[in-house]
Subunit: 413 residues, 2 copies
């Protein structure tokens, strides 16, 4: 059996593995570390070749002891779609979209919660709670349902109602919060002791980062054990960025890959952009300690309630360090850019969430700015379906006909 | 290069391959036949083991000549989820759900349209039209968008508005029809010549059945080159049933599998059940020739606008023959049974369409009736996401809170 512990990403302190409290005394985030020499004995390119296409093919690098505890709904090994038309149009060497909306809960959040809920089962937990702008809530609800664990999800009240509605469908206790995601998080922290909830919020437990890590493994394996030059990722709490960065360090240390790390580009929406501000004002102190509400109030634009709207990421310094070390950047895109990008991806056959569309908008911006070079290979992440964010009633403008003559008449108008 | 032609499923006449008009002079449906001796040279268990997990791994059995014409968005190789809790609860040897909602357009329709649109490209077509209760429209829209082909989709006006809204997102010309799917089909037939549309309706062209066939291949391969005892499938036009039945004949003839054919069970919703009526009244003449409107008017229940609501399947005798030859059956389930099944699948972490839920309801019914035996292995198909059919406003009943004290108060009410 594989062994693992925890290492602080800030002070490098090593601690025994635990299921909760990922905060080191120094304030840094504790991440799972593995005995990679042991892992290397069984996790090889040849052994992977024989395994089933699921994120659990990387089982030695996921911290579940007993395979019987794995809660799987069919997550991972999502398609990586090449965009050849746009490669020539934009003069990029390679452009791909990783279709994370094809996960079981319709979003990339399936990965993190498959691991997190497996760990809940391994730890014997019976109740879990999460603050979420929507997709994490749905994922906890689904995986907890499958595991027979009671789920409590706390969602800002302006989040898309389809995403909210999914949660009771999966059997979760669903509560709307008159506030932002950190207000939802505060409610869970207040009630945790009394209610017996395990808080599975971002960086509160070890599973979600480890699950997200598999996006990085898959990308490397799907690209023939290479890294792309640039990964453009919609960033809220940042567990995906932390996970993929960790994945690449592990792959390098395992000797499965030997090339430059990809540049990580974080995308946010204008009006809630702590990572963007942090990257571009790195001489100033980071905003991690400021009052949350100020971060939003400072902006004149009210950002959409998407997964990117996280005013106070739990470990902003770690995110800034990853972006900087990788040679990446961060940028904010507007509502208008996002809406245009959704339409553009739509006509390419891709149903994209605003978050996924934001990566497309960012990619266009970085081409215009010259930050992306013709020699670059670029991967975008489409994290969820467009329809989850749909507003009903837009079809009111669609014509209604009874006969072909009606069609001809309508077309001639 | 592989060669293929067409064979009539009724009179066995053989014709050269063509891209349109799948009706034989005898009234039967023309299906693609392959030179299986040639196919067997390259399509082997060993060669499949080396191939990418996508439905295009079965390329020798899909009628596209030039791989450059393949329009792929990442379809196929969907997860097959085992339901161990329910196996013991219901005394079934094995129970699986094939998660077709994880396809690129959020439904099983991706498969058929990946092949159909590839054939449009191979044939040089520039405009295509489809009558659809929704998911086929979205799939044509997406694949045609990717291929640069103009799509016209005709959808009954009572279909779920999210499904309708997807189509313009993908860039399709979207038209609502004041009528049923056969009224939409009639409009396309009327305008086909004038507008230059290729009609890609069910059994109008060879690609959709061939694409759906890959569900059968995958099932066999994912089950270690065996068949399940029973396949329960939500049936409207029936191209999925025809496709899987064809897949199994091909696998047997290729020598890739050597066991009994699975029993095919068609599920419909009460109120629109031509296949169910046909199976249970097989001594009477089939209803294929009757006036369409009578088929619905005869019932006191108005069925939901789902993919199962096809009053007049294009080749009912073929469907009835498959069900009968396989030793299967057909049954209709009620709106109430479907709604209960959606909730039940939800608490198992599966977001199911009404059509997918109908297979669960049918499975429960067949257990109760004793038609399913404890020795049976059973596969259900979840064809699409629950959310595509969602009605907004249901979240109105979800409580809104500001603090943990609000939560405690709300729980104590």
């Amino acid at each position: 059996m594989n062994q693992w512990g925890l290492t602080c990403s800030r002070c490098s302190a090593r601690l025994p593995f635990r299921y909760q409290n990922m905060k080191c005394d120094c304030g840094g985030t504790l991440l799972v570390d593995y005995d990679l020499e042991l892992v290397a004995k069984t996790l090889t390119k040849a052994s992977l070749h024989e395994r089933y296409p699921s994120m659990w093919r990387y089982q030695e690098l996921l911290p579940v002891h007993d395979p019987a505890n794995i809660i799987s709904l069919g997550e991972g090994w999502t398609p990586l779609l090449r965009m050849p038309k746009w490669e020539s149009k934009l003069s990029l060497r390679r452009l791909w979209v990783k279709r994370e909306e094809q996960n079981p809960t319709g979003s990339f959040k399936s990965r993190g919660f498959s691991v997190a809920v497996s760990l809940l089962r391994e730890a014997g937990a019976t109740k879990a709670a999460v603050p979420s702008n929507g997709n994490a809530a749905g994922a906890l609800a689904a995986y907890a349902g499958r595991a027979g664990i009671e789920a409590f999800v706390f969602i800002p009240m302006d989040c898309p109602s389809l995403i909210v509605d999914e949660c009771p469908l999966y059997g979760a206790k669903t509560i709307l919060v008159d506030g932002f995601i950190h207000d939802a998080a505060a409610i869970i922290e207040s009630g945790r002791g009394e209610q017996g909830w395990v808080n599975v919020g971002t960086l509160k437990e070890p599973g979600r980062v480890e699950g997200k890590k598999t996006m990085g493994f898959e990308l490397a394996e799907q690209l023939g054990w290479t890294f792309p030059d640039v990964i453009i990722y919609p960033t809220g709490g940042g567990s995906g960025i932390i996970g993929m960065w960790k994945a690449y360090l592990e792959l390098k240390e395992l000797g499965l890959i030997d090339c430059e790390m990809p540049k990580f580009v974080c995308v946010q929406e204008e009006g809630c952009q702590p990572i963007v501000d942090g990257v571009h004002q790195s001489s100033q102190p980071t905003r991690a300690g400021e009052d949350d509400s100020l971060l939003l109030a400072a902006s004149s634009t009210i950002p959409n309630p998407t997964g990117m709207r996280v005013p106070n990421p739990p470990d902003l310094p770690l995110l800034l360090a990853i972006v900087e070390q990788s040679g990446g950047t961060a940028l904010a895109v507007s509502k208008v850019q996002i809406a245009e990008a959704m339409r553009c991806l739509g006509t390419e056959g891709i149903s994209s969430s605003p978050e996924g569309a934001a990566t497309w908008a960012a990619m266009l911006q970085l081409c215009t700015d010259g930050w992306l070079k013709p020699s670059d290979s670029v991967v975008l992440f489409n994290t969820s379906h467009a329809m989850k964010y749909a507003k009903l009633g837009t079809s009111a403008a669609i014509p209604i006909i009874r006969t072909y003559d009606d069609f001809v008449m309508y077309r001639s108008l």
